[in-house]
Amino acid sequence: MSEKKIISEFVEKASMVSAIVHGVTGMEDALEKTIQICREKLPCENLMPADSNSSGKKNLAAPNMDEFHYGKLQMLCEKHGITLIKEGVRNFPGGIDMGVTMMDYGIAETGTLVLNSDSEETRLATMLCETHVAIVDKAHIRKTALEMSDELNEMTVKPSSYTAFITGASRTADIERVLALGVHGPLELHIMLIEGD
């Protein structure tokens, strides 16, 4: 299967589970789109008003981004009045507006994203947010999970590791088998496909 085909299968399968896939020209474009989505979304519904430390501003956590792009994101956030969180996501138990994470791999067969979540911040950013923006390098999309079992083995062999497969938003069909999104985790998943360098 050519790389193009793998990517189109990834997009198709991810879309089938209601992920929203964006083609972007590069990392900067991805960050701008991310901010735009954050600005357009409804403000986060605080699930624990009693524990609120909210400033009334929208908040966005980007725990695993390299320093250069984190800096860019910070500038964008400041410009649009969004609070950027790098650490202490746990202090927002009632939820945050957005979690942005750099993904390690994509899996075409199921439209799945693979994320090294060893850090608690990364884990919580993808769980406590209402909208999850996942940025993944096209070159890191594999055909099937089985075909990348070596890479997965490498990730999971490390003591204290926590590896996540994420496919679409948090969902349930537990009441009358009717699908509903966002039962515990994100209500929406956006995927930005970037061209690696």
Partner: protein, 712 residues
């Protein structure tokens, strides 16, 4: 949770109540129909049988190496800083977990869904210790609040309506809640978020336990297991030792199939791989305290058992319930104790004792639908019968089945009884071929179908006048009649004799043949089934024929699939030769003598086909009867439920008439809706059930054996 001893009568009452629950009936039915399609779609890009074989092989290997894997995992986990505990019994597991809670001063616990925790009744135990336990999977939380057990292994609250959930949530939140699913889900989101934050300890199960790396794999759609294993400072994973696998490769192989088979989903929203203890910023040294409690609870012994070891190949996908005709009628609480569906009928005996298993295990039509979809490749119907027999061996056989076994073992006695019965029933049949008033042994509830009478002159007494030996035969067969055609529907065999004559087939009818033995097996009389199996092998051995042909799919499937196994310690070679030769009628026509001997009718009718369970699944035959129908000149109409059980199942319909009736109604409605007025099948038991039901309800459906619709 049903913990008291329940009588058979009480169990049947519970079934009847379920059958009257309209919401449950509709929900179950919609699910059964929808599941069929979603499963088909989910596997459309792969060879489903091949991938399921892979999973079964992976699991079978893992079961064989269980001890070694457990060792390997434990070493690795301890190296990684996880505390590993081994619980021999359910009690031990509960005690260990309660102790961990005490030592870690955990007062509040959140849980993600775990059938293993349900198995040991963990919640009750911890609650008795004064600990607050909250289920976080939406369905589990709902049933927990209702103080019920799950009614499906994957969809615990499938038996409830949105209105029931709204009422429940109104009670819990003390605020009136709308019966809108979207909003109800948000109520759970809000209510449960607090619980995660407050919890000291999180308890999860695991779908995969990887020995090589000491990793747990957990699949969820809601993402609750991620929060449960991330927010609290202590994580306890409770896992059955049957979840152990060598490497992540095997886990990925199963994970590719499990969600597809469970709900028709390609993958669950989240699959989490934890090689813990993971970072936790509120814990000392920023590391979560992590424990793994391995549950044995009889599994080690099971792994050594030549018959039941395969039970451990189960991956808990729930598919065996999804396709079960009984589950479709009565729902999960009535078809399982904790584990639901076919696998529940088996494991209840091992995990929750004979008392809870003994009625349950009989509630199976032996249709084989579960086996056909089982992701673990388990021969579920066979094991259900094994458990049935085991329980009878332990508790003593009921008189009814004991007598049946005794009678069947003695062919002459059996046939004399049948002949006497044909006279005795005269007054009750009022000279008609149908039993207008059922004999005393049948209670009123069997009245849902009109049963036929026993014939005055069985086929065995007619054979000699029907058959003239042929010269230069095209092939030599021996006919296996089965009791129902011999003694109730000889006309079906007579019709076949005409075709045999036309095709110049030499036919033998061994008079020492007896019942195939399936009814005995169905009633848990394994020994009698073995005896008649041996008698039949002997009766056919001398014939020197090419094929043994039967017009009964159930007999064919039993003779081919069960008899060799039943007699394996007595006559393995003879049994292999015998079963090798067995062929069912339509298969024999199409593959041996050719369908050209059949002349198309000049009065074609709209014809539906009921594929007997033992034909399509037992023998894997789908096309042969259709080709025969096509050649007969009738217009075949495909029906949605063509391969769904008719609810007969031999003694099943006598033991659970109300369930049998509803399965039958469903079937006949489907035929009626198709517009067909002729319903063809290839098993006299199915004819009895379907024709009797159609007559009783005055439906204009003419039910025929396939031999009766062909002209030669």
């Amino acid at each position: 949770m049903i913990e008291k001893k329940e009588s058979l009568k009480e169990y049947k009452d519970r079934l009847d109540t379920a059958l009257e629950n309209d919401f449950l009936r509709t929900a179950m039915d919609n699910f059964a129909v929808a599941y069929r399609t979603s499963r088909r779609n989910a596997f459309s890009e792969m060879d489903v049988d091949a991938v399921i074989r892979d999973v079964a092989a992976v699991k079978a290997d893992a079961v064989k190496n269980n001890e070694h894997l457990l060792d390997q995992f434990s070493k690795k986990a301890v190296e990684n800083g996880i505390q590993v505990h081994m619980a021999e019994t359910a009690k031990d597991a509960n005690r260990i977990i309660a102790q961990i809670a005490e030592q870690t001063h955990s007062k509040k616990i959140v849980k993600s869904k775990s059938m293993t925790a349900e198995e040991i009744h963990l919640n009750q135990w911890l609650e008795n210790e004064g600990i607050e336990v909250t289920e976080t999977d939406l369905g589990e939380w709902i049933v927990q609040l209702r103080k019920e057990g799950p009614s499906h292994m994957v969809m615990p609250a499938i038996h409830l309506s949105r209105y029931q959930v709204a009422d429940l949530f109104t009670d819990v939140t003390k605020v009136a809640q709308d019966a809108e699913i979207e909003k109800l889900v948000k109520v759970a989101r809000r209510q449960l978020r607090k619980k995660y934050i407050e919890a000291d300890m999180g308890i999860t199960g695991a779908n995969y336990v990887i020995a090589q790396t000491g990793t747990l794999g957990i699949a969820t759609n809601e993402g609750n297991a991620r929060l449960v294993s991330t927010l609290p400072r202590v994580h306890v994973a409770l896992v059955g030792i049957d979840k152990l696998l060598p490497t992540i490769k095997e886990a990925l192989t199963i994970n590719r199939i499990l969600p597809r088979n469970a709900t028709g989903q390609a993958i669950t929203s989240y699959v989490t791989w934890i090689t813990g203890p993971s970072e936790c910023k509120t814990a000392p040294e920023q590391k979560r305290e992590m424990h793994i409690v391995f549950l044995d609870n009889g599994r080690k012994k099971m792994a050594q058992d030549p018959v039941f070891a395969q039970v451990l190949q189960c991956v808990r996908c729930g598919a065996c319930a999804n396709v079960c005709p009984v589950y479709r009628m009565v729902g999960g609480h009535q078809l399982g104790h904790i584990y639901i569906g076919a696998i529940g009928l088996i494991t209840t005996y091992f995990f929750h004792g004979r008392q809870n298993a003994k009625h349950l295990v009989q509630n199976c039509t032996n249709c084989g639908a579960c086996k056909a979809v089982c992701a673990g490749g388990i021969d579920l119907p066979k094991l259900i019968k094994e458990i049935h027999a085991k329980i009878q061996d332990e508790e003593g056989h009921p008189l009814k089945s004991l007598l049946l076994g005794k009678v069947l073992k003695n062919r002459k006695l059996f046939h004399t009884l049948l002949k006497t019965a044909s006279i005795a029933q005269k007054p009750v049949t009022a000279g008609t071929p149908y039993l207008r008033h059922l004999p005393m042994i049948f209670s009123k509830e069997h009245n849902f179908r009109i049963l036929p009478a026993i014939t005055q002159k069985p086929f065995r007494d007619r054979f000699k006048t029907l058959y003239t030996p042929v010269k230069k035969p095209s092939c030599k067969i021996a006919l296996f009649s089965g009791c129902v055609q011999d003694f109730v529907y000889p006309e079906q065999l007579e019709a076949a004799m005409k075709l045999f004559k036309q095709a110049n087939v030499s036919v033998e009818f061994p008079f020492d043949q007896s019942c195939c033995g399936l009814p005995a097996l169905m009633m848990g009389e394994k020994d009698a089934a073995k005896d008649v199996g041996l008698q039949n092998i002997k009766a056919f051995k001398k014939q020197g024929v090419d094929y043994i042909v039967t017009l009964c799919a159930s007999c064919a499937s039993h003779l081919k699939n069960h008899v060799p196994d039943l007699v394996k310690n007595y006559a393995p070679e003879d049994a292999a030769e015998f079963s090798e030769k067995v062929m069912v009628f339509s298969q024999f026509i199409r593959r041996i003598i050719g369908i050209d001997h059949i002349k198309p009718t000049t009065f074609p009718r709209k014809t539906a086909f009921h594929s007997p369970c033992h034909l399509c699944r037992g023998l894997g035959i789908a096309n042969d009867p259709k080709k025969v129908i096509a050649q007969s000149g009738h217009d075949y109409i495909k029906t949605d439920e063509e391969e769904t059980c008719c609810g007969f199942g031999g003694s099943f319909s006598a033991n659970f008439p109300s369930v049998s009736k509803e399965i039958l109604n469903k079937k006949l409605m489907d035929v009626e809706n198709s517009g067909a007025d002729l319903l063809v099948t290839e098993c006299p038991g199915c004819v009895m059930q379907l024709r009797g039901g159609a007559l009783k309800k005055n439906q204009k459906i003419d039910v025929r054996h396939i031999s009766e619709i062909i002209q030669s």
